[in-house]
């Protein structure tokens, strides 16, 4: 079985982002998606700190620390890009103007509940940022995460055990093993990595998954 590495996961997500989309990429793994967006599509990247039309990192020596992304790293602005203040930036998110956001996650439930901001550990310092706004605001919420924790437990769960970021907000899950849609009937597997079988995916995930005809996964 060929588990996807982080760049392959990013490339897989990038394939599903259409021409003309306005997209917010969360901090961490989702940030990698920017490196894989098809060059022949115009896609507008939104950054919560007030940018639409964000470009790649600047060349060494060209950094401007008044032009940063949500991770506080220097970025550039594409021709046609715009700056705006925080309330406008979050109105774009909360008002349903973004087509897609891609978020990392600790857990996603069968119903599309998302947990990605807090482990709930007593000594943990909680930090939420814009995750809850994106989770409820974007037209489509894509989650990108490893299928299993480091201890081998499924991050796709019946009920999230970590504190929730949003209720029934996830539309699609991209993991290193599969692409899965959250539907009203349940979790529907769209793709599996080469060599993965239905039996094996069921075994590692541990909760019921829906499939198309088996031949679709060849």
């Amino acid at each position: 079985m060929q588990r996807l590495n982080r760049d392959q996961m990013a490339a897989r997500v990038a394939r599903d982002i259409p021409e003309g989309a306005c997209v917010n990429l969360g901090i961490g793994l989702p940030t990698l998606v920017a490196n894989h967006l098809p060059k022949n599509r115009e896609i507008l990247l939104h950054s919560e700190n007030g940018v639409l039309g964000m470009g790649p990192a600047p060349a060494a020596g060209e950094e401007d620390y008044d032009l940063i992304n949500a991770s506080k790293d220097p970025v550039t602005l594409l021709p046609g890009g715009a700056f705006f203040h925080h309330a406008d930036s979050f109105a774009m998110m909360r008002g349903g103007h973004l087509d897609i956001c891609v978020l990392g996650a600790f857990q996603v439930s069968v119903k599309g509940d998302l947990a990605n901001w807090h482990t709930g550990a007593p000594d943990a310092i909680p930090a939420v940022g814009g995750a809850m706004d994106l989770a409820v605001g974007a037209k489509q919420v894509f989650v990108m995460m490893e299928h299993l924790t480091k201890r081998g437990q499924s991050k796709i769960v019946e009920h999230c055990t970590y504190p929730l970021t949003g209720v029934a907000c996830v539309n699609r899950i991209y993991t290193d093993l599969a692409v899965i849609d959250v539907t009203s009937e349940g979790l529907r597997v769209l793709e599996m990595v080469p060599g993965m079988t239905i039996a094996e995916l069921n075994r590692v995930t541990g909760i019921p998954l829906l499939y198309e005809r088996e031949s679709n996964y060849a």
Binding site: G50, D64, I68, F83, M93, I125, G129, M132
Partner: protein, 231 residues
């Protein structure tokens, strides 16, 4: 003649009382009014409630204000950072109160205060820990949470240029919370890189009209950068 330009950071902050609620602009270092924060530390006001997206980085700026034990409570969306050790230690010791606010709620609650809105319902946070104990309502079949405005005594912000009426323009992503915070405080103080003549700012591009700004302090970028290098 209207002239909001004051001669120094010291003069701009002279009347900040103990117990004040202060909005501080910036998203990380971009747009953070570092010299105004240094001025606030020197001025000595304590028992402050601070509103900022973060809870300080490294040892300077907001982190230094926290380290000086001037802050009773902080409202922010993302306190935990690789270099937020000063906040982390105070929080773990129970020596600072934290109200964790989703970033969009932070911006919108400040905006509401500035716009005279008594509260608003938002989907953000519905069904999560951060909505516990808050009034909720179902609107068009979806759950919403009631959030209240964040009003402040002072707003300390950084802008690129100002005229003597207090009109402001900003620079790139250093704009972030500045224009919103400017509307929500009884006294908004802006540190600016340049002061220009009245009429020099293109009225089509003024981001914050002077009505929201009480005091302007000139802190040229070169001086600011040199100050940071020394610190």
């Amino acid at each position: 003649m209207i002239d909001k330009i004051v001669s120094s950071v010291t003069e701009a902050l002279a009347d900040v009382p103990d117990g004040a609620t202060i909005l501080i602009g910036g998203f990380g270092p971009a747009g953070m009014p570092a010299e105004l924060i240094d001025g606030l530390i020197a001025q000595g006001a304590k028992d402050l409630t601070i509103v900022n997206n973060n809870a300080g980085n490294g040892e300077t700026g907001l982190a230094a204000l926290l380290k000086a034990r001037r802050v009773r409570k902080i409202l922010c969306s993302f306190p935990r950072q690789v270099d937020s050790h000063i906040f982390d230690a105070l929080y773990r010791a129970g020596e600072i109160e934290l109200e964790l606010v989703p970033q969009g709620n932070l911006a919108e609650r400040i905006r509401a205060a500035g716009a005279g809105i008594g509260g608003f319902y938002t989907r953000t946070g519905y069904g999560t820990l951060l909505a516990e104990g808050k009034e909720t309502r179902t609107i068009d079949g979806r759950g919403y949470v009631l959030e209240h405005p964040i009003r402040a005594d002072y707003a300390l912000i950084k802008a690129e240029a100002a005229d003597r009426w207090g009109n402001l323009v900003f620079r790139k992503t250093a704009r972030n919370f500045g224009p919103v915070m400017a509307t929500a405080a009884r006294c908004t103080v802006a540190q600016v890189n340049r002061i220009v003549e009245l009429g020099e700012l293109d009225p089509e591009t003024i981001v914050t009209p002077g009505i929201y700004v009480k005091r302007i302090v000139h802190v040229p970028r070169a001086e600011a950068a040199a100050g940071r290098a020394v610190a």
